[in-house]
Symmetry: none
Subunit: 123 residues, 4 copies
Amino acid sequence: MEEDNMEYNAALPIYLQVVTMIKRDIVTGELLLGAKMPSVRDMALQYTINPNTVSRVYKELENEGICFTKRGMGTFVTEESAKVEQLKQEMAKELLEQFLTGMKKLGISEEEAIKMIKEREIC
Amino acid sequence: MEEDNMEYNAALPIYLQVVTMIKRDIVTGELLLGAKMPSVRDMALQYTINPNTVSRVYKELENEGICFTKRGMGTFVTEESAKVEQLKQEMAKELLEQFLTGMKKLGISEEEAIKMIKEREIC
Amino acid sequence: MEEDNMEYNAALPIYLQVVTMIKRDIVTGELLLGAKMPSVRDMALQYTINPNTVSRVYKELENEGICFTKRGMGTFVTEESAKVEQLKQEMAKELLEQFLTGMKKLGISEEEAIKMIKEREIC
Amino acid sequence: MEEDNMEYNAALPIYLQVVTMIKRDIVTGELLLGAKMPSVRDMALQYTINPNTVSRVYKELENEGICFTKRGMGTFVTEESAKVEQLKQEMAKELLEQFLTGMKKLGISEEEAIKMIKEREIC
DNA sequence: GTGGTCTAGACCACT
DNA sequence: GTGGTCTAGACCACC
Protein backbone atom coordinates (compact mmCIF):
# COMPACT_ATOMS: atom_id res chain seq x y z
CA MET A 1 0.00 0.00 0.00
CA GLU A 2 2.21 2.83 1.25
CA GLU A 3 5.79 1.65 1.17
CA ASP A 4 8.11 4.52 0.49
CA ASN A 5 9.13 7.11 3.07
CA MET A 6 7.53 4.89 5.68
CA GLU A 7 8.05 5.89 9.30
CA TYR A 8 8.91 2.92 11.44
CA ASN A 9 7.77 2.59 15.01
CA ALA A 10 10.80 2.35 17.29
CA ALA A 11 8.95 0.05 19.68
CA LEU A 12 8.61 -2.85 17.23
CA PRO A 13 11.34 -4.32 14.99
CA ILE A 14 11.11 -3.05 11.44
CA TYR A 15 10.92 -6.57 10.04
CA LEU A 16 7.81 -7.34 12.10
CA GLN A 17 6.18 -4.07 11.03
CA VAL A 18 6.80 -4.97 7.40
CA VAL A 19 5.45 -8.47 8.07
CA THR A 20 2.25 -6.91 9.37
CA MET A 21 1.94 -4.60 6.39
CA ILE A 22 2.35 -7.46 3.95
CA LYS A 23 -0.15 -9.58 5.85
CA ARG A 24 -2.64 -6.75 5.56
CA ASP A 25 -2.01 -6.52 1.82
CA ILE A 26 -2.65 -10.25 1.50
CA VAL A 27 -5.83 -10.17 3.58
CA THR A 28 -7.21 -7.19 1.68
CA GLY A 29 -6.48 -8.89 -1.62
CA GLU A 30 -3.93 -6.30 -2.68
CA LEU A 31 -1.64 -9.32 -2.94
CA LEU A 32 -3.59 -12.15 -4.52
CA LEU A 33 -3.35 -15.86 -3.72
CA GLY A 34 -0.34 -17.41 -5.39
CA ALA A 35 0.88 -14.05 -6.67
CA LYS A 36 4.57 -13.42 -7.06
CA MET A 37 5.83 -11.03 -4.43
CA PRO A 38 8.46 -8.36 -5.12
CA SER A 39 12.04 -9.62 -5.18
CA VAL A 40 14.07 -9.19 -2.02
CA ARG A 41 16.01 -6.36 -3.64
CA ASP A 42 12.91 -4.59 -4.98
CA MET A 43 11.10 -4.76 -1.68
CA ALA A 44 14.24 -3.44 0.04
CA LEU A 45 14.00 -0.39 -2.19
CA GLN A 46 10.22 -0.06 -1.76
CA TYR A 47 10.42 -0.10 2.02
CA THR A 48 13.85 1.56 2.17
CA ILE A 49 15.30 -1.22 4.29
CA ASN A 50 18.22 -3.59 3.87
CA PRO A 51 17.76 -6.68 1.66
CA ASN A 52 18.75 -8.84 4.62
CA THR A 53 15.85 -7.40 6.58
CA VAL A 54 13.52 -8.29 3.71
CA SER A 55 14.90 -11.84 3.76
CA ARG A 56 13.99 -11.99 7.41
CA VAL A 57 10.50 -10.77 6.58
CA TYR A 58 10.06 -13.44 3.92
CA LYS A 59 11.45 -16.12 6.21
CA GLU A 60 9.01 -15.12 8.94
CA LEU A 61 6.10 -15.18 6.50
CA GLU A 62 7.25 -18.59 5.28
CA ASN A 63 7.45 -19.89 8.85
CA GLU A 64 3.87 -18.81 9.34
CA GLY A 65 2.87 -20.59 6.13
CA ILE A 66 1.77 -17.40 4.42
CA CYS A 67 4.40 -17.46 1.68
CA PHE A 68 6.51 -20.06 -0.05
CA THR A 69 9.69 -19.84 -2.07
CA LYS A 70 10.69 -21.38 -5.38
CA ARG A 71 14.47 -21.43 -5.66
CA GLY A 72 15.64 -19.04 -8.31
CA MET A 73 12.05 -18.04 -9.08
CA GLY A 74 11.05 -15.81 -6.21
CA THR A 75 8.68 -15.69 -3.25
CA PHE A 76 4.95 -16.24 -3.66
CA VAL A 77 1.79 -15.75 -1.62
CA THR A 78 0.36 -19.04 -0.39
CA GLU A 79 -2.23 -20.63 -2.66
CA GLU A 80 -4.35 -21.86 0.25
CA SER A 81 -7.29 -19.54 0.70
CA ALA A 82 -7.96 -21.17 4.08
CA LYS A 83 -4.62 -19.83 5.31
CA VAL A 84 -5.54 -16.32 4.26
CA GLU A 85 -8.94 -16.63 5.90
CA GLN A 86 -7.26 -17.77 9.12
CA LEU A 87 -4.92 -14.78 8.90
CA LYS A 88 -7.88 -12.46 8.45
CA GLN A 89 -9.57 -13.88 11.54
CA GLU A 90 -6.39 -13.52 13.60
CA MET A 91 -5.89 -9.91 12.57
CA ALA A 92 -9.56 -9.10 13.17
CA LYS A 93 -9.41 -10.69 16.59
CA GLU A 94 -6.37 -8.63 17.50
CA LEU A 95 -8.12 -5.43 16.41
CA LEU A 96 -11.14 -6.39 18.44
CA GLU A 97 -9.11 -7.08 21.56
CA GLN A 98 -7.32 -3.75 21.25
CA PHE A 99 -10.65 -2.02 20.89
CA LEU A 100 -12.35 -3.68 23.81
CA THR A 101 -9.41 -3.33 26.20
CA GLY A 102 -9.11 0.32 25.19
CA MET A 103 -12.78 0.83 25.91
CA LYS A 104 -12.50 -1.03 29.18
CA LYS A 105 -9.69 1.31 30.23
CA LEU A 106 -12.11 4.17 29.60
CA GLY A 107 -14.67 2.44 31.79
CA ILE A 108 -16.93 1.52 28.88
CA SER A 109 -18.51 -1.94 28.77
CA GLU A 110 -18.88 -4.13 25.70
CA GLU A 111 -22.63 -3.43 25.57
CA GLU A 112 -22.02 0.29 25.53
CA ALA A 113 -19.31 -0.19 22.89
CA ILE A 114 -21.74 -2.08 20.65
CA LYS A 115 -24.33 0.61 21.24
CA MET A 116 -21.82 3.25 20.11
CA ILE A 117 -21.15 1.34 16.90
CA LYS A 118 -24.84 1.09 16.12
CA GLU A 119 -25.54 4.76 16.88
CA ARG A 120 -22.66 5.73 14.66
CA GLU A 121 -24.16 3.57 11.95
CA ILE A 122 -27.31 5.67 11.89
CA CYS A 123 -25.45 8.95 11.40
CA MET B 1 -0.87 3.91 35.00
CA GLU B 2 2.33 2.63 33.44
CA GLU B 3 4.77 5.49 33.14
CA ASP B 4 8.27 4.19 33.47
CA ASN B 5 10.06 2.15 30.81
CA MET B 6 7.51 3.42 28.36
CA GLU B 7 8.27 2.86 24.69
CA TYR B 8 7.57 5.93 22.62
CA ASN B 9 6.34 5.83 19.07
CA ALA B 10 8.73 7.61 16.71
CA ALA B 11 5.88 8.68 14.44
CA LEU B 12 4.16 10.86 17.05
CA PRO B 13 5.79 13.56 19.22
CA ILE B 14 6.46 12.24 22.69
CA TYR B 15 4.59 15.10 24.35
CA LEU B 16 1.38 14.17 22.52
CA GLN B 17 1.77 10.56 23.53
CA VAL B 18 2.11 11.61 27.17
CA VAL B 19 -0.91 13.89 26.78
CA THR B 20 -2.94 10.89 25.68
CA MET B 21 -1.77 8.78 28.59
CA ILE B 22 -2.69 11.47 31.08
CA LYS B 23 -6.07 11.97 29.48
CA ARG B 24 -6.70 8.27 29.85
CA ASP B 25 -5.74 8.46 33.54
CA ILE B 26 -8.23 11.29 34.02
CA VAL B 27 -11.02 9.51 32.21
CA THR B 28 -10.50 6.29 34.14
CA GLY B 29 -10.53 8.19 37.40
CA GLU B 30 -6.93 7.38 38.18
CA LEU B 31 -6.55 11.15 38.34
CA LEU B 32 -9.59 12.53 40.13
CA LEU B 33 -11.46 15.77 39.40
CA GLY B 34 -9.65 18.71 40.88
CA ALA B 35 -6.72 16.58 42.02
CA LYS B 36 -3.24 18.04 42.14
CA MET B 37 -1.05 16.64 39.39
CA PRO B 38 2.63 15.79 39.86
CA SER B 39 5.16 18.58 39.62
CA VAL B 40 6.89 19.05 36.31
CA ARG B 41 10.04 17.54 37.77
CA ASP B 42 8.29 14.51 39.22
CA MET B 43 6.39 13.77 36.04
CA ALA B 44 9.65 14.11 34.07
CA LEU B 45 11.08 11.33 36.26
CA GLN B 46 7.92 9.22 36.04
CA TYR B 47 7.83 9.30 32.26
CA THR B 48 11.63 9.52 31.82
CA ILE B 49 11.30 12.57 29.62
CA ASN B 50 12.70 16.08 29.73
CA PRO B 51 10.99 18.59 32.14
CA ASN B 52 10.57 20.93 29.17
CA THR B 53 8.53 18.26 27.47
CA VAL B 54 6.34 17.96 30.58
CA SER B 55 5.73 21.72 30.47
CA ARG B 56 4.56 21.34 26.92
CA VAL B 57 2.27 18.52 28.00
CA TYR B 58 0.69 20.66 30.72
CA LYS B 59 0.35 23.59 28.33
CA GLU B 60 -1.48 21.39 25.84
CA LEU B 61 -3.78 19.99 28.53
CA GLU B 62 -4.55 23.52 29.71
CA ASN B 63 -5.34 24.61 26.16
CA GLU B 64 -7.84 21.79 25.93
CA GLY B 65 -9.40 22.86 29.22
CA ILE B 66 -8.54 19.64 30.95
CA CYS B 67 -6.13 21.12 33.47
CA PHE B 68 -5.57 24.50 35.08
CA THR B 69 -2.64 26.02 36.88
CA LYS B 70 -2.55 27.94 40.16
CA ARG B 71 0.62 30.00 40.31
CA GLY B 72 2.86 28.79 43.06
CA MET B 73 0.51 25.88 43.80
CA GLY B 74 0.90 23.54 40.83
CA THR B 75 -1.27 22.04 38.12
CA PHE B 76 -4.67 20.54 38.79
CA VAL B 77 -7.20 18.41 36.97
CA THR B 78 -10.30 20.35 35.89
CA GLU B 79 -13.22 20.31 38.31
CA GLU B 80 -15.84 20.14 35.57
CA SER B 81 -17.12 16.59 35.25
CA ALA B 82 -18.77 17.53 31.95
CA LYS B 83 -15.32 18.20 30.53
CA VAL B 84 -14.13 14.75 31.58
CA GLU B 85 -17.25 13.15 30.16
CA GLN B 86 -16.67 14.93 26.88
CA LEU B 87 -13.06 13.73 26.90
CA LYS B 88 -14.23 10.17 27.49
CA GLN B 89 -16.60 10.36 24.54
CA GLU B 90 -13.88 11.76 22.30
CA MET B 91 -11.38 9.07 23.20
CA ALA B 92 -14.00 6.36 22.86
CA LYS B 93 -15.01 7.67 19.47
CA GLU B 94 -11.39 7.68 18.32
CA LEU B 95 -10.95 4.09 19.48
CA LEU B 96 -14.14 3.13 17.69
CA GLU B 97 -13.08 4.78 14.45
CA GLN B 98 -9.70 3.04 14.60
CA PHE B 99 -11.44 -0.26 15.16
CA LEU B 100 -14.01 0.09 12.39
CA THR B 101 -11.57 1.40 9.80
CA GLY B 102 -9.19 -1.40 10.69
CA MET B 103 -11.96 -3.93 10.23
CA LYS B 104 -13.01 -2.30 6.99
CA LYS B 105 -9.46 -2.68 5.71
CA LEU B 106 -9.80 -6.38 6.45
CA GLY B 107 -13.04 -6.43 4.50
CA ILE B 108 -15.20 -6.89 7.60
CA SER B 109 -18.44 -4.91 7.90
CA GLU B 110 -19.76 -3.25 11.04
CA GLU B 111 -22.44 -5.92 11.40
CA GLU B 112 -19.86 -8.66 11.32
CA ALA B 113 -17.68 -6.71 13.76
CA ILE B 114 -20.56 -6.47 16.22
CA LYS B 115 -21.23 -10.16 15.76
CA MET B 116 -17.60 -10.90 16.64
CA ILE B 117 -17.84 -8.88 19.83
CA LYS B 118 -20.99 -10.72 20.88
CA GLU B 119 -19.57 -14.13 20.07
CA ARG B 120 -16.46 -13.31 22.04
CA GLU B 121 -18.66 -12.25 24.94
CA ILE B 122 -20.09 -15.75 25.22
CA CYS B 123 -16.72 -17.41 25.59
CA MET C 1 30.91 -32.26 22.21
CA GLU C 2 33.49 -31.40 19.54
CA GLU C 3 33.12 -27.76 18.67
CA ASP C 4 36.45 -26.26 17.75
CA ASN C 5 38.13 -26.73 14.39
CA MET C 6 34.93 -28.25 13.14
CA GLU C 7 34.74 -28.99 9.43
CA TYR C 8 31.46 -27.88 7.96
CA ASN C 9 29.71 -29.73 5.17
CA ALA C 10 29.32 -27.45 2.19
CA ALA C 11 26.03 -29.09 1.22
CA LEU C 12 24.14 -27.94 4.33
CA PRO C 13 24.08 -24.41 5.82
CA ILE C 14 26.39 -24.09 8.79
CA TYR C 15 23.60 -22.85 11.01
CA LEU C 16 21.58 -26.02 10.41
CA GLN C 17 24.59 -28.21 11.08
CA VAL C 18 25.14 -26.44 14.38
CA VAL C 19 21.42 -26.81 15.14
CA THR C 20 21.78 -30.55 14.66
CA MET C 21 24.86 -30.76 16.87
CA ILE C 22 23.14 -28.88 19.65
CA LYS C 23 20.03 -31.04 19.34
CA ARG C 24 22.23 -34.09 19.72
CA ASP C 25 23.82 -32.60 22.83
CA ILE C 26 20.37 -32.01 24.29
CA VAL C 27 19.11 -35.49 23.47
CA THR C 28 22.22 -37.15 24.89
CA GLY C 29 21.90 -35.12 28.08
CA GLU C 30 25.15 -33.26 27.50
CA LEU C 31 22.92 -30.20 27.74
CA LEU C 32 20.46 -30.76 30.56
CA LEU C 33 16.81 -29.66 30.70
CA GLY C 34 16.56 -25.99 31.60
CA ALA C 35 20.34 -25.56 31.48
CA LYS C 36 21.80 -22.24 30.41
CA MET C 37 23.38 -22.47 27.00
CA PRO C 38 26.58 -20.66 26.04
CA SER C 39 26.17 -16.99 25.21
CA VAL C 40 25.91 -16.06 21.55
CA ARG C 41 29.44 -14.72 21.63
CA ASP C 42 30.91 -17.73 23.44
CA MET C 43 29.27 -20.20 21.10
CA ALA C 44 30.53 -18.17 18.16
CA LEU C 45 34.05 -18.70 19.47
CA GLN C 46 33.44 -22.39 20.26
CA TYR C 47 32.16 -23.17 16.80
CA THR C 48 34.35 -20.54 15.07
CA ILE C 49 31.35 -18.94 13.38
CA ASN C 50 29.90 -15.44 13.37
CA PRO C 51 27.72 -14.37 16.34
CA ASN C 52 24.96 -13.57 13.86
CA THR C 53 25.01 -17.18 12.72
CA VAL C 54 24.69 -18.32 16.33
CA SER C 55 21.70 -16.02 16.73
CA ARG C 56 20.13 -17.73 13.78
CA VAL C 57 20.83 -21.10 15.38
CA TYR C 58 19.18 -20.03 18.62
CA LYS C 59 16.23 -18.54 16.78
CA GLU C 60 15.73 -21.79 14.88
CA LEU C 61 15.92 -23.82 18.09
CA GLU C 62 13.43 -21.43 19.68
CA ASN C 63 11.07 -21.79 16.71
CA GLU C 64 11.18 -25.53 17.21
CA GLY C 65 10.42 -25.10 20.90
CA ILE C 66 13.71 -26.59 22.01
CA CYS C 67 15.11 -23.45 23.61
CA PHE C 68 13.73 -20.29 25.13
CA THR C 69 15.25 -16.91 25.84
CA LYS C 70 15.16 -14.67 28.90
CA ARG C 71 15.95 -11.12 27.90
CA GLY C 72 19.30 -10.07 29.23
CA MET C 73 19.75 -13.46 30.90
CA GLY C 74 20.62 -15.79 28.07
CA THR C 75 19.25 -18.77 26.18
CA PHE C 76 18.13 -21.92 27.94
CA VAL C 77 17.25 -25.50 27.04
CA THR C 78 13.52 -26.17 27.26
CA GLU C 79 12.29 -27.50 30.58
CA GLU C 80 9.77 -29.85 28.99
CA SER C 81 11.16 -33.36 28.95
CA ALA C 82 8.39 -34.38 26.53
CA LYS C 83 9.86 -32.01 23.96
CA VAL C 84 13.28 -33.62 24.33
CA GLU C 85 11.77 -37.08 24.06
CA GLN C 86 9.98 -36.05 20.87
CA LEU C 87 13.26 -34.70 19.53
CA LYS C 88 14.97 -37.99 20.34
CA GLN C 89 12.31 -39.94 18.47
CA GLU C 90 12.59 -37.66 15.43
CA MET C 91 16.35 -37.98 15.29
CA ALA C 92 16.19 -41.73 15.76
CA LYS C 93 13.63 -42.05 13.00
CA GLU C 94 15.84 -40.06 10.65
CA LEU C 95 18.82 -42.31 11.42
CA LEU C 96 16.67 -45.37 10.82
CA GLU C 97 15.41 -44.11 7.47
CA GLN C 98 18.95 -43.32 6.35
CA PHE C 99 20.03 -46.82 7.36
CA LEU C 100 17.21 -48.67 5.67
CA THR C 101 17.34 -46.67 2.45
CA GLY C 102 21.10 -47.19 2.36
CA MET C 103 20.62 -50.92 2.80
CA LYS C 104 17.90 -50.97 0.20
CA LYS C 105 20.27 -49.32 -2.27
CA LEU C 106 22.66 -52.21 -1.58
CA GLY C 107 19.85 -54.64 -2.29
CA ILE C 108 19.47 -55.70 1.34
CA SER C 109 15.99 -56.13 2.81
CA GLU C 110 14.87 -55.05 6.26
CA GLU C 111 14.83 -58.64 7.46
CA GLU C 112 18.40 -59.15 6.39
CA ALA C 113 19.34 -55.84 8.00
CA ILE C 114 17.84 -56.94 11.30
CA LYS C 115 19.63 -60.25 10.98
CA MET C 116 22.94 -58.40 10.53
CA ILE C 117 22.35 -56.38 13.68
CA LYS C 118 21.64 -59.51 15.69
CA GLU C 119 24.64 -61.39 14.35
CA ARG C 120 26.84 -58.44 15.13
CA GLU C 121 25.43 -58.47 18.64
CA ILE C 122 26.82 -61.94 19.24
CA CYS C 123 30.36 -61.02 18.24
CA MET D 1 22.99 -43.20 -10.34
CA GLU D 2 22.95 -39.46 -9.68
CA GLU D 3 26.18 -37.97 -10.91
CA ASP D 4 25.57 -34.45 -12.08
CA ASN D 5 24.92 -31.51 -9.77
CA MET D 6 26.34 -33.61 -6.99
CA GLU D 7 27.19 -31.77 -3.79
CA TYR D 8 30.52 -32.77 -2.38
CA ASN D 9 31.30 -32.92 1.30
CA ALA D 10 34.12 -30.58 2.20
CA ALA D 11 35.33 -32.90 4.97
CA LEU D 12 36.19 -35.83 2.67
CA PRO D 13 38.32 -35.70 -0.51
CA ILE D 14 36.12 -35.64 -3.58
CA TYR D 15 37.85 -38.64 -5.13
CA LEU D 16 36.94 -40.83 -2.15
CA GLN D 17 33.35 -39.68 -2.35
CA VAL D 18 33.23 -40.64 -6.00
CA VAL D 19 34.86 -43.99 -5.17
CA THR D 20 32.02 -44.68 -2.74
CA MET D 21 29.38 -43.76 -5.31
CA ILE D 22 30.88 -46.06 -7.91
CA LYS D 23 31.16 -48.88 -5.40
CA ARG D 24 27.48 -48.48 -4.69
CA ASP D 25 26.69 -48.63 -8.38
CA ILE D 26 28.68 -51.88 -8.66
CA VAL D 27 27.03 -53.46 -5.63
CA THR D 28 23.56 -52.54 -6.80
CA GLY D 29 24.27 -53.98 -10.22
CA GLU D 30 23.98 -50.65 -11.96
CA LEU D 31 27.50 -51.42 -13.12
CA LEU D 32 27.61 -55.10 -14.07
CA LEU D 33 30.48 -57.56 -13.55
CA GLY D 34 33.12 -57.13 -16.20
CA ALA D 35 31.37 -54.11 -17.72
CA LYS D 36 33.36 -51.38 -19.35
CA MET D 37 33.40 -48.25 -17.27
CA PRO D 38 33.16 -44.72 -18.72
CA SER D 39 36.34 -43.14 -20.04
CA VAL D 40 38.19 -40.80 -17.72
CA ARG D 41 36.94 -37.85 -19.75
CA ASP D 42 33.31 -38.98 -19.76
CA MET D 43 33.29 -39.65 -16.07
CA ALA D 44 34.87 -36.26 -15.45
CA LEU D 45 31.91 -34.70 -17.25
CA GLN D 46 29.37 -36.95 -15.51
CA TYR D 47 30.62 -36.06 -12.04
CA THR D 48 31.72 -32.51 -12.97
CA ILE D 49 35.19 -33.12 -11.59
CA ASN D 50 38.69 -32.87 -13.00
CA PRO D 51 39.92 -35.80 -15.20
CA ASN D 52 42.95 -36.09 -12.92
CA THR D 53 40.59 -36.73 -10.05
CA VAL D 54 38.89 -39.48 -12.06
CA SER D 55 42.28 -41.11 -12.64
CA ARG D 56 42.82 -41.11 -8.92
CA VAL D 57 39.40 -42.70 -8.46
CA TYR D 58 40.20 -45.50 -10.92
CA LYS D 59 43.60 -46.04 -9.30
CA GLU D 60 41.99 -46.41 -5.89
CA LEU D 61 39.38 -48.83 -7.23
CA GLU D 62 42.12 -50.87 -8.89
CA ASN D 63 44.10 -50.95 -5.65
CA GLU D 64 41.07 -52.40 -3.91
CA GLY D 65 40.72 -55.02 -6.65
CA ILE D 66 37.34 -53.74 -7.76
CA CYS D 67 38.42 -52.62 -11.22
CA PHE D 68 41.15 -53.52 -13.68
CA THR D 69 42.58 -51.73 -16.67
CA LYS D 70 43.34 -53.05 -20.13
CA ARG D 71 45.84 -50.75 -21.81
CA GLY D 72 44.28 -49.08 -24.79
CA MET D 73 40.87 -50.61 -23.98
CA GLY D 74 39.71 -48.81 -20.89
CA THR D 75 38.76 -49.63 -17.31
CA PHE D 76 36.45 -52.53 -16.41
CA VAL D 77 34.55 -53.73 -13.39
CA THR D 78 36.10 -56.85 -11.83
CA GLU D 79 34.74 -60.17 -13.05
CA GLU D 80 34.92 -61.82 -9.64
CA SER D 81 31.46 -61.90 -8.07
CA ALA D 82 33.04 -62.81 -4.73
CA LYS D 83 34.78 -59.45 -4.74
CA VAL D 84 31.51 -57.65 -5.29
CA GLU D 85 29.84 -59.69 -2.57
CA GLN D 86 32.66 -58.80 -0.19
CA LEU D 87 32.23 -55.13 -1.14
CA LYS D 88 28.53 -55.34 -0.45
CA GLN D 89 29.18 -56.80 2.99
CA GLU D 90 31.74 -54.12 3.80
CA MET D 91 29.42 -51.30 2.77
CA ALA D 92 26.51 -52.83 4.61
CA LYS D 93 28.62 -53.24 7.72
CA GLU D 94 29.71 -49.62 7.57
CA LEU D 95 26.09 -48.48 7.22
CA LEU D 96 25.15 -50.68 10.15
CA GLU D 97 27.94 -49.33 12.33
CA GLN D 98 26.95 -45.76 11.51
CA PHE D 99 23.36 -46.55 12.37
CA LEU D 100 24.07 -48.27 15.67
CA THR D 101 26.62 -45.75 16.89
CA GLY D 102 24.18 -42.98 15.97
CA MET D 103 21.46 -44.69 17.94
CA LYS D 104 23.82 -45.28 20.85
CA LYS D 105 24.59 -41.56 20.91
CA LEU D 106 20.86 -40.98 21.28
CA GLY D 107 20.82 -43.47 24.16
CA ILE D 108 18.96 -46.13 22.18
CA SER D 109 20.04 -49.76 22.48
CA GLU D 110 20.30 -52.29 19.65
CA GLU D 111 17.19 -54.08 20.88
CA GLU D 112 15.20 -50.87 20.78
CA ALA D 113 16.63 -50.07 17.35
CA ILE D 114 15.47 -53.45 16.02
CA LYS D 115 12.09 -52.86 17.58
CA MET D 116 11.84 -49.53 15.76
CA ILE D 117 12.59 -51.20 12.44
CA LYS D 118 9.91 -53.81 13.00
CA GLU D 119 7.32 -51.30 14.11
CA ARG D 120 8.05 -49.21 11.06
CA GLU D 121 7.66 -52.31 8.93
CA ILE D 122 4.07 -52.71 10.04
CA CYS D 123 3.06 -49.22 8.98
C1' DG E 1 17.62 -12.72 -12.59
C1' DT E 2 16.00 -15.28 -7.92
C1' DG E 3 16.56 -16.22 -2.69
C1' DG E 4 20.06 -18.26 0.87
C1' DT E 5 23.90 -17.79 3.64
C1' DC E 6 27.76 -15.81 6.02
C1' DT E 7 30.70 -12.22 7.89
C1' DA E 8 31.76 -7.83 10.06
C1' DG E 9 30.58 -4.34 12.83
C1' DA E 10 27.32 -1.40 14.97
C1' DC E 11 23.61 0.09 18.23
C1' DC E 12 19.82 -1.07 21.30
C1' DA E 13 17.17 -2.67 25.52
C1' DC E 14 17.19 -5.36 29.40
C1' DT E 15 19.58 -7.35 33.87
C1' DG F 1 27.00 -8.96 30.74
C1' DT F 2 22.70 -10.91 27.82
C1' DG F 3 20.17 -11.50 23.12
C1' DG F 4 17.83 -8.60 19.27
C1' DT F 5 18.12 -5.93 15.34
C1' DC F 6 19.94 -3.59 11.37
C1' DT F 7 23.20 -2.44 7.76
C1' DA F 8 26.71 -3.35 4.30
C1' DG F 9 28.77 -6.19 1.31
C1' DA F 10 30.07 -10.59 -0.27
C1' DC F 11 29.60 -15.29 -2.39
C1' DC F 12 26.71 -19.20 -3.62
C1' DA F 13 23.23 -22.26 -6.08
C1' DC F 14 19.38 -22.35 -8.89
C1' DC F 15 16.62 -20.84 -13.02
